[in-house]
């Protein structure tokens, strides 16, 4: 039954992707991209990847769409048609696709328990998580301890994106038409009473859910990334409803930048402290006399760092786009 459902979702995925490429209205394309991400998340869930599904839903369908829309507001939403060069691209792409489909026939079938992927190192993780960390979520264990160095790198990718957007959009836009824009900006969504009221009701729960994902990550799906993204979407919703200035009053830019820097440094310094206490970089076991407790402590702290950094970075990026004046 679930098999049929999976095939249905996957076919929808293909259809959506083709529709995205075919439409010339960028707004429609962005909305379809959001749907694409949701379908992807549903597929991930069917394939037993709860953590990834949560992340894809929060990041792919939520934050990405908002950033896309912010950029669209600044650039215009019509795509101009273009004819030349399409045929060759189509042929090349079709050939590559058939080559890749041909190559799939040697791959292990979906769900094959004898596939090499499931033999070598995967069972080790499942076994050692209970032994070394003593909490149920193996994904969190790998993410934050066994392969914690990758996660550190990932936090710095987010940090790079944040400073990159701030750097690139740090140049003031060419000054045209600035006066008549000011009026419009203050208007915001103020006369939308119903969304505002509902928003006020819902936003605390979104943030609460974010915190739950943050601190429950060892036990269920979730962790720093998901939490950061969810809290960020909550605050972005606030900014959409109440106007950007009010959101900035609540959480000013300097605080956001501080969160990014602080989160990244928190993660890194846990690693360095491990070094000083006689372990390797990011070897949390040395943090406490009881290695299991040390692991749990380390994971708790670095997950908090990840959450802070991701939340701060996504919000900084959002504000950098949203505060930009449209000059076209």
């Amino acid at each position: 039954m679930i098999f049929v459902f999976a095939i249905f979702l996957l076919s929808l995925l293909v259809i959506t992707s083709i529709a995205i490429v075919r439409t010339t209205n960028l707004f429609v394309a962005v909305m379809l991209t959001s749907i694409f991400s949701f379908l992807m998340a549903a597929n991930f869930f069917i394939l037993d990847a709860a953590d990834v599904a949560l992340t894809e839903a929060a990041v792919g369908a939520g934050v990405t769409t908002v950033i896309f829309l912010c950029a669209l507001a600044l650039t215009g939403e019509r795509e101009k048609p273009r004819i030349n060069g399409r045929k060759t691209a189509r042929v090349a792409v079709a050939i590559l696709a058939s080559l890749m489909i041909y190559a799939t026939f040697d791959k292990p079938r979906l769900g094959d328990p004898d596939a090499p992927v499931h033999q070598h190192i995967a069972p080790w993780y499942i076994e050692k998580t209970t032994e070394h960390m003593d909490f149920p979520n193996v994904v969190t264990a790998i993410l934050s301890s066994f392969r914690g160095y990758d996660t550190l790198g990932e936090v710095f990718v987010v940090f790079a994106a944040c400073i990159g957007v701030l750097f690139i959009l740090g140049v003031p836009p060419p000054a045209q038409k600035r006066l008549n824009k000011v009026v419009e900006q203050n208007k915001g969504l103020r006369h939308h009473l119903i969304p505002q009221v509902v928003g006020r009701l819902v936003i605390p729960f979104i943030v609460l859910f974010g915190l739950y994902t943050q601190f429950h990550g060892e036990y269920g799906p979730g962790g720093g990334f998901q939490a950061g993204a969810i809290i960020a979407t909550g605050i972005i919703l606030y900014a959409l409803l109440e106007g950007e200035n009010k959101a900035l009053q609540a959480v000013p830019r300097s605080v956001l930048l501080g969160m990014v820097i602080g989160g990244a440094l928190l993660f890194g310094s846990v690693g360095v402290i491990c070094m000083f206490m006689g372990g390797n970089f990011l070897e949390y076991s040395v943090l406490s006399a009881d290695p299991i407790w040390g692991q749990q402590l380390g994971i708790l702290v670095i997950e908090a760092g990840v959450g802070m950094a991701v939340c701060g970075a996504l919000l900084s990026i959002f504000h950098a786009f949203a505060a930009r004046e449209n000059v076209s």
């Binding site: 040697d106 090499p116 710095f156 990159g164 990244a264």
Partner: protein, 496 residues
């Protein structure tokens, strides 16, 4: 805490963690000073590691204390030691000289972010070089790419933006291709550790996914390394980037991708794929030769100084790949030595360009007339580094050209054909270097443009130091040669 044992990790972690701190260093000049200190410390660490490798050590480090195929391991061998020296050296050199040029090109309030991105780029490149884990390489590749997009976008010209955008799309496609390749290998072997892959890939019975993986990884990394038909992002990105960023990236960014490519080909695929050496010879060698000839020809007719040098870089990537495709000790050591020497020569040339650009706004060759009278030292360094690029005896470039020619003579009758091509392309290099020298020394100055004085002493001193190093390594090439021979031995051992 035993610092030496932690060096492979500290090498990455120190520049990476310094990046957030750079953002906080708001007052004028502090960010630059901080970045320079960090880069110098990194260089010292790289030198320590290289000395250790020369003494027969191969430092390994297990992140989080987890054993190798399960956790992430770092390892430093002779090959990565060379790359470490190049990356940290280029970064330290460029940063030492950077202040006057960057002050001119990047607004003061944006400078802390600029230097933070620089630190991230350096940390990312170092992270790739020391990583022994295929997926970890991807993560650090993304850090370094995102940071270099930021750095290039700092260019004052608006044309920098489309150039970066092109780099961003092609770079992301390259990285994603690499990710697909790694995924396929992981699917068939169940491991991500490169050494473990090497051991387990022999047991794989179904060859097709491995072939596809080899294709994806080769194409993806070739995109990032600007191997000939996939190089289109290079000229614009290098031309419109801030001058000091060009120095840094031209000296090491593409080379690190090339390093990963060579490492994967030799350590992971070579042992497994039947006739893989043939495939190498049939696919990569023609690309390399075409790249050398076409890019040199383009450089001969290019009117803009930075674009000319960027084209020449593509040709040099061709040389490195050509050496590697011989699959012999001599060829591989030529390849590694050329990585090193080209970084020196091109770094020196781009530093000299930065000196010139301090006074000339327009870097087209016909605008540069008469520079030699006002900026004699800068022009002298251009000559020295240019000679090194051509491969004149007495400069560092000669050593690698010599090794290359001897390596190609080893492979029999075809070797003579290759020697002919190498000589032809060297003649082309003479032609385009001569065009630069002609413009600087023998053209009449253009009315209204032109410097009143030399470049700032800080910039000039580093430039001359690099030129001197070009000469030094031409006479005393022992250190890079020794490292290169060891690296070649290690790579070929993996291929057996």
């Amino acid at each position: 805490m035993d610092l030496i044992a932690h060096l492979p990790a500290l090498q990455v972690v120190i520049p990476m963690l310094s990046a957030p701190l750079m953002v906080l260093l708001q007052p004028r000049g502090l960010a630059w000073a901080g970045a320079t200190v960090v880069a110098l410390v990194s260089f010292a660490m790289a030198a320590t590691l290289a000395i250790g490798v020369l003494n027969g050590l191969t430092p390994q480090y297990f992140m989080g204390g987890w054993p190798a195929p399960f956790g992430i391991a770092l390892s430093v061998d002779a090959f990565s030691a060379v790359l470490l020296l190049i990356v940290t050296g280029a970064s330290a050199g460029a940063l030492l000289a950077a202040k006057p040029s960057v002050d001119q090109q990047v607004e003061e309030e944006r400078q802390p972010l600029f230097y933070a991105a620089w630190m991230l780029a350096m940390a990312g490149l170092i992270g790739i070089v020391v990583a022994a884990d295929a997926f970890n390489i991807f993560v650090f590749m993304e850090i370094s790419s995102l940071a270099s997009y930021i750095l290039i976008a700092g260019g004052p010209d608006r044309r920098a933006l489309p150039a970066v955008f092109k780099y961003l799309t092609m770079g992301t496609i390259g990285a994603t291709f690499y990710l697909i390749g790694v995924g396929l290998i992981y699917m068939m072997t169940g491991t991500l550790n490169i050494e473990d892959m090497q051991n387990r890939i022999g047991d794989v019975t179904d060859i097709n996914p491995i072939l596809v993986a080899a294709g994806f990884i080769t194409i993806g990394l070739a995109l990032k390394a600007a191997v000939f038909p996939l190089h289109v992002w290079v000229p614009n990105a290098y031309t419109h980037a801030p001058h000091m960023v060009t120095v840094f990236l031209a000296a090491c960014a593409t080379k690190v991708s090339l390093y990963v490519l060579i490492k994967f080909d030799y350590l992971v695929f070579q042992s497994r794929l039947v006739d893989h050496d043939m495939q190498f010879a049939l696919f990569l060698m023609p690309m390399a030769i075409l790249g050398i000839l076409i890019a040199s020809a383009v450089a001969m007719f290019e009117g803009h100084l930075k674009r000319l040098l960027a084209s020449s870089s593509i040709a040099q990537i061709g040389y490195i790949l050509l050496c590697a495709s011989f699959i012999s000790t001599l060829g591989l050591s030529a390849s590694v030595v050329h990585l090193f020497n080209h970084a020196l020569a091109k770094g020196g040339l781009f530093l000299a360009v930065a000196c010139l650009a301090y006074h000339y706004r327009d870097l087209r060759l016909d605008q540069l007339g008469g520079a030699s009278t006002k900026m004699p030292w800068t022009c002298a360094t251009v000559v020295i580094c240019g000679l090194s690029l051509i491969g004149i005896p007495g400069t560092a470039g000669f050593i690698s050209k010599w090794l290359l020619i001897s390596a190609s003579l080893q492979i029999g009758p075809w070797g003579w054909f290759l020697v002919a091509i190498i000589l032809l392309s060297s003649l082309m290099a003479v032609a385009y270097v001569w065009r630069i020298i002609e413009a600087l020394y023998f053209k009449a100055p253009v009315e209204g443009v032109g410097p009143q004085s030399e470049a700032p002493i800080q910039l000039l001193a580093v430039t001359m130091l690099v030129a001197a190093l070009n000469l030094y390594f031409g006479f005393f090439p022992q250190v890079p040669l020794e490292l290169a021979t060891e690296a070649a031995g290690m790579l070929l051992e993996g291929a057996q």
